[in-house]
């Protein structure tokens, strides 16, 4: 049986066992095998093949332009992938039936550890549909006559899609009253139109920005009319759902200490400062930082204002006690880190709406800004050396 096909973007190595009747792929020097013994009886074409490591200049399929792969080739790749997956599961001692893509990635990372920085240069084993670009089926018949009536426009999928959509629009306009009283348009926030790249992927064709906008404009026009379930299904093909961001917020579970008081712990960071805050459910508004009262630890008003911010926003100023530890960074970074930690810890005590309001006030986002590095040939990150005419 063929060995598991681990395709690395740089080289391939195939070891083929003897006594196999093998199909050769005709493309790209993919296989380089030398049939040593080919003169046996006609019904058993056994070829004794020697071990060959094919280190070709195998193109990075995703980087190169569209090359045409035959359907048989792709089918074979898929078969080999599935067989190889089972072999890999066997090797790792797992059940081949329930071996998912994440398991494959983990197994490959374990078997072929790579220290390369470029993630795309590391060994991967993915389903051929993700590796080989999507291609269009053959568009001409054997007599050279194209199948689709819009073939000679050059962009048959796009134009046929526009044609269908416009046809639907005309049909609906004919059946509808000329002045529709539709108050609620089916455009809730939970979904969005697909972006140009997604549409290109769907049609397997290159589009320009104007084409894309024309198409979306047609779809929007369709939305304003009254349509039935068939058109609804047609439209839904071009909608993608949008995540409600607040649902991604991780809310810490409450913990209870010896006295039965509920508290919540959370971490925060800002620049190079790391803070951990423990917010108690009931208290008098005291904050202790690294064992010191916050009034002494932060003599600057601005920092204390930042500590107050999350509580003041939720009108819970004197209601919680906080004990935090912080290290690294400067005074403002430490204040920002503690603010984030406190806001995250507070999420356990408040309603979901209030969590969303805090998120919209910017209290639950970790500030990604760090000091920009100095570049060679410049005096600082942005400042250039003084320009001298000569």
């Amino acid at each position: 049986m063929a060995a598991p096909c681990v395709s690395c973007c740089r080289g391939l190595s195939y070891r083929l066992f003897l006594g196999l009747r093998v199909n050769f792929a005709q493309r790209q020097g993919y296989w380089q095998t030398l049939p040593v013994d080919a003169q046996t009886a006609p019904e058993s074409q056994i070829l004794r093949l020697i071990h060959t490591t094919v280190v070709t200049t195998k193109k990075n399929v995703s980087a190169s332009g569209r090359d045409s792969y035959t359907e048989d080739f792709i089918k074979k790749q898929i078969e080999e992938f599935n067989i190889g997956k089972r072999h890999l599961a066997n090797m790792m001692g797992e059940d081949p039936e329930t071996f998912t893509q994440e398991d494959i990635d983990r197994a490959i990372a374990y078997l072929f550890p790579s220290g390369l920085f470029e993630k795309r240069a590391r060994p991967i084993m993915k389903h051929p549909e993700q590796i080989f670009p999507k291609q269009r089926a053959i568009q001409r018949g054997e007599d050279g006559r194209p199948f689709h009536f819009l073939f000679y426009t050059g962009r048959q999928s796009y134009y046929s899609l526009m044609h269908d959509t416009y046809g639907k629009l005309l049909q609906l306009e004919k059946h509808n009253d000329p002045f529709p009283q539709k108050t609620e348009s089916m455009n809730p926030i939970g979904s969005r139109w697909l972006i140009k790249e997604e549409l290109e992927e769907m049609l397997v064709e290159k589009l320009s920005d104007q084409d894309y906008m024309q198409f979306i404009w047609l779809l929007e026009k369709l939305l304003t009319l009254q349509y039935g379930p068939a058109e609804e299904e047609f439209i839904q093909r071009f909608r993608r759902s949008v995540t409600i961001q607040s649902q991604k917020q991780l809310i810490e579970p409450l913990q209870y200490d010896e006295q039965g008081m509920a508290f919540s712990t959370s971490e925060g960071r800002r620049k190079s400062a790391r803070a951990e805050a423990v917010v108690y459910e009931r208290g008098s508004g005291k904050i202790r930082v690294n064992g010191i009262d916050y009034l002494q630890y932060f003599p600057i008003t601005q920092d204390r204002e930042q500590l107050m911010f999350p509580f003041h926003y939720l009108d819970r100023l004197g209601k919680h006690d906080v004990i935090c530890t912080v290290s690294g960074g400067g005074r403002s970074a430490q204040a920002g880190a503690i603010r984030l930690a406190m806001a995250k810890a507070l999420c356990s005590f408040i309603t979901e709406d209030e969590v969303e309001w805090m998120r919209q006030a910017g209290l639950l986002t970790s500030d990604p800004r760090v000091r920009e590095r100095k570049k060679p040939g410049q005096e600082g990150a942005r400042r250039k050396f003084t320009w001298k005419k000569r």
Binding site: W193, I244, Q245, S246, T301, H312, A361, G362
Partner: protein
């Protein structure tokens, strides 16, 4: 009907935004100013009253805005901004402009001393004045500050435009934010440069603010000079093409 048109317009602008973003990813067009936040991040809304509004009071537009914000990523709130009643965006901007070398502590303390000095001067005047004058004396330093800066804002500005090898000063309408910026910049420049070295900044600044509040003083004069030059050059107004 209008709301629907608005929504359609907004969706078109979102589309256009998406197209613009796609345009910026083209090779050959590199953006020099980049940010650690991706382009999809929105600015935070730090307003306590905004979230306390009950759902019944919101217009359709506001409801749509609220729902849209739920799906957008939001940047972190800046370190100098809070929802406190004492936080004033104009004062913050002025403090930042006064700051030198990143010394925010010093700038903020100077600002606080300035406002205190303004208040003290006004209270002295108040106690020394008669009953009917007392009603006209403004003692709140924040209103004085805002009014003074508003009085210093120029209405029209001059822009050097290159035509035929010469730079002409062409009168041009200024945007709101440019006007506010110019008012603050002139105020600070005036206090830094044209005063005797021994006087401290709060003293100078409070003096200038009170003069500007009364529509007198060098900053107001500078604004009038700008207006006069614009009036003098109004023949060149047709050089502007935007």
């Amino acid at each position: 009907m209008a709301a629907r048109a608005l929504r359609a317009a907004r969706r078109c602008s979102e589309l256009a935004g998406a197209v613009n973003r796609a345009v910026w990813r083209l090779p050959g067009l590199t953006q020099v100013r980049w940010s650690r936040y991706g382009p999809e991040f929105r600015d935070p809304l730090i307003d306590k009253e905004h979230c306390r509004k009950p759902a019944a009071e919101l217009t359709e537009e506001e409801k749509y805005d609220q729902d849209l914000r739920k799906t957008q990523l939001i940047k972190a709130a800046p370190a100098a901004q809070t929802c406190s009643v004492f936080a004033d965006p104009v004062i913050s901007k002025f403090t930042n402009m006064m700051m030198k070398g990143g010394n925010k502590v010093l700038a903020r303390s100077l600002m606080a001393q300035t406002l205190e000095a303004v208040k003290r001067k006004q209270f002295e005047k108040y106690h020394a004045a008669s009953a009917e004058e007392q009603a006209t004396i403004e003692r709140n330093p924040y209103t004085i500050f805002h009014q003074a800066l508003k009085n210093c804002e120029p209405v029209i500005g001059l822009v050097p435009i290159l035509k035929g090898g010469h730079f002409y000063q062409v009168p041009v309408p200024l945007s709101d934010r440019r006007r506010r910026f110019l008012a603050m910049k002139w105020m600070i420049k005036e206090c830094r440069e044209n005063k005797p070295r021994q006087t401290l900044m709060p003293e100078k600044l409070s003096h200038e603010l009170l003069e500007a509040f009364a529509n007198k003083g060098p900053v107001i004069k500078r604004k009038h000079d700008m207006h006069k030059m614009a009036e003098a050059n109004r023949a060149l107004a047709h050089y502007r093409w935007w």
